[in-house]
C-alpha cells in the first residue's frame, strides 16, 4: 500500500479548482456517477482509493473517493450517494454545471504491488465506488496474464447494485464477480445472502491473497473476520475507513480515529489488532 500521500507540492490543497460536469450516469435511485473535467488548472491525478473534496458551490464540501483510475483525459470520476445537502447538490448537478475539486488526499489501495497473487475485493453498498478504480487496474492486468481477481459485492436489493457497466467489463476481463443482495424478487440471477457468505465459494488461495475491503464499518469488520477465518493473513487485508472530513490536510483533527488522522493516514489502512479494537470501541 502506498503511504500517506497528500496532494503534491504546488497544488492548492485548500482552494477548490473549478471543474465542469461532462457526463452523468444514474446508477441507482440515489447514486449518481459524475465525470468532471477541469475548466483550467487540474488537480494532480489521484490513485485508486484516494479521495477529493468536492464542493457544491453555495452548499458545502464533502469527501468523495475517485471511482475510476486516472486516464489520459484529465477528467476525474466520482460516484456519489445522495444522503444530505452536499451529496444531493452533486447528484442533481447537470452536464455543464461547475463543481469545485481539491485533492487528491489520503492513502490509496496500493495496486502497484498487487496483481501477482490473488486479490479479493469485498464491497458493500456505496463502498464499491472507492474500489472501482483499483479493480479497473487489476482487471486490465488480468487481461494480460496478471494474478487472479475476485470481487464480492453486497447490496440491499437488486435495484441498489451500482456500477453495472463496470461489473460487466470486469467479468469480460476475466475477473470473478459475484453479487449478493439481502433479498430479491424471484427471477434475480445473483445471490441472496450476506456478502461474507460469498467468500468461501470464490476459490481464492488464502495464503497468497491480498484483500481490499470497503463498505459500512460493521460490514468491514464482519468481512475481515470472515477473510481471516478462511486463512487470509490479517496483514494482507486493506480496508478503507471513513470519518467526517473537513480540511483533508491533517490540520483540523475532524477525521481522527485513535492515533490516526484518516485524511492523511487513511482512508486505506492495513488491518491490525489495534484497528479491530478501535472499530469495536468506537461503536459502543
Amino acid at each position: 500500500m502506498t503511504n500517506a500521500s497528500s496532494a503534491p507540492a504546488g497544488t492548492p490543497v485548500l482552494v477548490p479548482l473549478a471543474y465542469r460536469v461532462v457526463a452523468r450516469r444514474h446508477e441507482t435511485a440515489d447514486v449518481t456517477t459524475l465525470r468532471l473535467s477541469p475548466v483550467a488548472d487540474a488537480v494532480a491525478p489521484g490513485r485508486p482509493g484516494q479521495f477529493n473534496m468536492l464542493s457544491a458551490f453555495g452548499v458545502g464540501e464533502a469527501a468523495i473517493s475517485l471511482s475510476a483510475a486516472p486516464d489520459a483525459t484529465g477528467e476525474v470520476q466520482h460516484t456519489i450517494r445522495d444522503v444530505g445537502p452536499v451529496s444531493h447538490a452533486l447528484c442533481t448537478s447537470a452536464p455543464g454545471d461547475l463543481v469545485g475539486v481539491r485533492g487528491p488526499f489520503g492513502t490509496d489501495w496500493g495496486v502497484d504491488d498487487l496483481g501477482y497473487g490473488d486479490t479479493v475485493v469485498v464491497a458493500g453498498g456505496i463502498g464499491l465506488a472507492p474500489l472501482a478504480g483499483a479493480i479497473d487496474v487489476l482487471a486490465e492486468r488480468r487481461r494480460y496474464g496478471g494474478g487472479r481477481v475476485f470481487v464480492a459485492v453486497g447490496a440491499r436489493n437488486p435495484d441498489q447494485v451500482m456500477l453495472r457497466a463496470e461489473l460487466g467489463r470486469w467479468l469480460a476481463a476475466g475477473v470473478r464477480v459475484r453479487v449478493t443482495v439481502d433479498a430479491a424478487p424471484a427471477g434475480f440471477t445473483g445471490g441472496v445472502g450476506l456478502v461474507t457468505q460469498l467468500l468461501p465459494g470464490l476459490g481464492f488461495d488464502p495464503a497468497r491473497t491480498t484483500a481490499l475491503v470497503c463498505g459500512p464499518e460493521v460490514m468491514i469488520r464482519f468481512s475481515v473476520r470472515a477473510l481471516v477465518d478462511l486463512g487470509v493473513p490479517p496483514g494482507a487485508v486493506r480496508v478503507s475507513l471513513e470519518r467526517n472530513m473537513q480540511c483533508g490536510t491533517a490540520l483540523c483533527g475532524h477525521c481522527q480515529l485513535g492515533p490516526l488522522l484518516l485524511c492523511r493516514d487513511g482512508p486505506v489502512v492495513t488491518w491490525n489488532d489495534e484497528l479491530a479494537t478501535l472499530l469495536t470501541e468506537n461503536e459502543r
Binding site: 473517493s65 450517494r81 444522503v83 444530505g84 458493500g124 453498498g125 456505496i126 463502498g127 465506488a129 472507492p130 453486497g154 447490496a155 440491499r156 441498489q160 449478493t180 439481502d182 433479498a183 430479491a184 424478487p185 424471484a186 427471477g187 434475480f188 440471477t189 445473483g190 445471490g191 441472496v192 445472502g193 450476506l194 461474507t196 457468505q197 468461501p200 465459494g201 470497503c214 463498505g215 459500512p216 460493521v218 460490514m219 464482519f222 478503507s240 471513513e242
Partner: protein, 155 residues
C-alpha cells in the same frame, strides 16, 4: 469420474472429515437426485422428509407473497445443505426451495436418518453438531442482514 454415494457424502462439507463409516451409514438412506431449472424442490407447508446435500447448481429459498412475485431470502450453492425442517416436529417446510438452474444433489431420507441417529447416539451427536454449525452460520448472517448493512448513509 463416477463417484459412489459414500464418496459423494464424504466429500460434502456437512460430513467431510468424519470417520469413513459415517458416510457408509448415511449412504444407506441416500440417493442422487437432479432438478431442472425452475423446479420446485420442496414447498412451504409440505411434510419435510429429505435433507439435500447440494453438489452442483444453485437453489433459491423463497417466501410466497399474495399478489406478488415470491421473495428470494437466500440462495444456496454447491457444498451447502438444503433443508433442516425434517430435524424437529412437526416436520414441515417453512419456505419454498426452487432450482435456479440444473441442480444435482444427494437426497437423504429423513425418517431413515433420524432412525440411525436414534440407534447410534454418537453418530446422532455428530450429525447434530454439524447441522447446528450450519444453522448458527445462517442465523448470524440473517442477523447481520437485519442491520441493513449497505443501506447506511456512507461507506
Amino acid at each position: 469420474m463416477i463417484q459412489t454415494l459414500p464418496e459423494l457424502i464424504a466429500a460434502h462439507p456437512l460430513f467431510a472429515g468424519l470417520p469413513g463409516d459415517v458416510a457408509e451409514l448415511v449412504a444407506g438412506c441416500a440417493r442422487t437426485v437432479a432438478f431442472g431449472p425452475g423446479r420446485l424442490i420442496f414447498s412451504e407447508g409440505e411434510r419435510a422428509e429429505t435433507l439435500y446435500l447440494l453438489r452442483r447448481g444453485r437453489v433459491a429459498l423463497e417466501v410466497r407473497r399474495p399478489g406478488k412475485a415470491p421473495l428470494m431470502v437466500e440462495t444456496l450453492s454447491a457444498g451447502a445443505l438444503l433443508g433442516w425442517s425434517w430435524l424437529l416436529p412437526p416436520y414441515r417446510w417453512h419456505l419454498d426451495a426452487r432450482a435456479l438452474g440444473t441442480v444435482l444433489a444427494v437426497a437423504i431420507d429423513a425418517d431413515c436418518l433420524r432412525a440411525k441417529a436414534d440407534k447410534d447416539p454418537e453418530f446422532g451427536y455428530r450429525l447434530l453438531q454439524r447441522m447446528s454449525a450450519v444453522i448458527v452460520d445462517r442465523l448470524q448472517a440473517t442477523r447481520f442482514r437485519l442491520l441493513d448493512l449497505y443501506g447506511a448513509v456512507a461507506p
